[in-house]
Amino acid sequence: MASTAETDVMIAADGVPLKTKLRRAERMRKIWALGLIAPLFIFIVGGFIIPIISLMTLSVEDPEIPDALPRTAEAFSEWDGKDYPSTESMIIFAEELAAASRGEFGRVSKRLNYEISGFKSMLKATARAADDLALLPADEILQGYIDIDKDWEDQAYWRAVKNASSPYSDYYVLWALDLKRDGESREIVSVDEGRAVYVEVLIRTIEISVAVTILCFIMGLPVAYLLATLPTAKSNLLLILVLLPFWTSLLVRTTSWLVLLQNEGLVNDLGIWIGLWNEPLELVRNRLGVYIAMTHILLPFMVLPMFSVMKSINPWHMRAAASLGAPGWKAFLKVYMPQCMPGVGAGTLLVFILSLGYYITPALVGGPDDQMVSYWIVQNMGRNANWGLGAALSLILLGITMVMFFIYNRFVGIDNLKVN
């Protein structure tokens, strides 16, 4: 028995069982492999995943009142929204307004002004008198508020405070879809017409992206075909012509289009000089300019994947089709194109998804009604300092991109992608 057990366990030269040694070697290799991918992993987590998640949470946070006026937030959330809040909570509100620092008050009044415009100045007047207000007896407190500003008689203002009191809300996400919750019934309704802009912007974003993708496809297909079928020496030269703009800064190319297309730009000067038209045409600072510049900038992303796929298609297939009697166009559609699909798919997906997030090109060559959703993200994150709305718009843009990706995966299949 003892001898069989000994033969079961293979022993390495240094006396350690072989199994253990193997396991140790395996573990070392795993640690080594993990060590190799660690920098990339840390970079992705720290550079993408954490910032994206924290940005996304911004879109559902509503921290101003809970942070600056915590007791008010608590007292108001106990109120059912009917009639007026309890007199105690009105007193707490006055006390906290009086005690709030300049910064806290600034953030609260900005947040409440989103609910009802004009709230800011009313709150300022109230805060100035808040010390005295907080000392009023319970039965005079409401009248005290009304004496400062008669709008306090309107329950809508009190409800606005309550509605902004919860630390998390769908407020900004709804806003990014031109929706809001009704102050009283809390049902989802459309915002006033003068404020509705984001649905239109989202539709416009998709519209421009689709148009640019189609334009890139129409223009890119012949180029890619030519590159793939010419003899290598010539096609390499042409390839450089495709790659050169690809390597040039986006900003330089966009600004160049502005110089070329403006009223006294080269294109207009040439057209008038030749006599094609008499008045300068409006080629830029409108949708046309956006299409021209974006198509030009994104074209290489369409040409290169199509080219690399076409390059691998055996030319004999077309000749075989011709020899079997297919006319040229039919052979192209039935034999050549199906084999190109992975390249076409990769090109269209790349161009479409890149277009969705375009900012600087439309901002420079487009008019105010050609701006895409990124422009409004920048506006809200920067100028308006409305991070919640900016984050909500980002969330929706990310959502659209992912939906497109899944639709695409469903019909074309990610496995069929061939980028290079």
Binding site: K110, S117, V197, P368, R383
Partner: protein, 358 residues
Amino acid sequence: MKGILSVSAAALSGVALIGLTAVSPAQAEDTITAASWGGAYSASQREAYYKPAAKEIDMTVLEDEWGGTLSEIRVQVETGDYKWTVIDAETGTGLAACDEGLVAELDWDMLGGTDRFLPGSTSDCTVGTIAWATIFAYDGEHEFPGGAVPTTLADFYDLEKFPGKRGLYANSPVVNIEFALIADGVAPADVYTYLNENEDEALDRAFAKMDSIKDEVVWWDSGAMAPQLLSDGEVVMTTAWNGRIYNAIVNEGQSFVIVWDGQVIDYDIWMIPMGHPDYDLGMKFIEYASRPEVMARQSQYISYGPTTYAASELINPDILQHLPTAPANLTNAVWSDTLWWADRTEELGERFQVWRSQ
């Protein structure tokens, strides 16, 4: 072509700026950093304040540029890692920064009280340094039908008499609203009374007036772009900041004409970030820059006016005529009501941006 030239000129001046900043004369004990707007404006401050400060108050002033948004100050205050000791900002930004507790209250005893400054140029945390105006200008070489010459804001809005594109400021409704109301017949002196008493009606009227030229508007979003649009022939008239047009006339030889009608005057102010360890040095600099004889120097380098009464009296009449505060230019001027705007910048800004994109 001109665009490319002006870009490279800007790059060159940036290089020059770095050079000047590095070679500070006589290493003084006290060193501060002043944030401002770059270009011709920073150059005027360098000549008027920063260089003389080394000799006169034994202080070295380093320069930086900033974009004018509160978030740039907020980062410094929240981390305690201060880049700037004093900041040159627009009045509205200063008021907002003060409201949010991002800048400190000034030592008004040191500055000799608020009475010696022009009305509206001071607040708890900010003190005016220049008065500047948004005006409108046209290219004198452009021929309008029948030789007509624009002289009023109503002409700016008159597309029949003066056909062609118009340049308007894209980033904010401030001044755009005032201009539209004046062009629609509201007297400059009554603009804010009207906006205060009949706010909704006045705003609807202003937006309707802007609607009437909307299709002909090219929007500018940086100070340098307005004169650029004029010289490129992209627009026949544009609103602009007066110093930028003056600079294009004097330094670039452009044939632009400034129309002083209904111009809206505003201030740039100095402020000190909240909690800055060198608050005292910042105050020392602001006090120096507010001395009448020091302040009066700046208008030799750019056509912006001083903010103290005493400095105004020291200015050479040749220069005075180009300043927004010159008596001859003030007949139909509007003083921007920054307090009125402070309460409305955000909501009207939103309405303006939505309107623009519709």
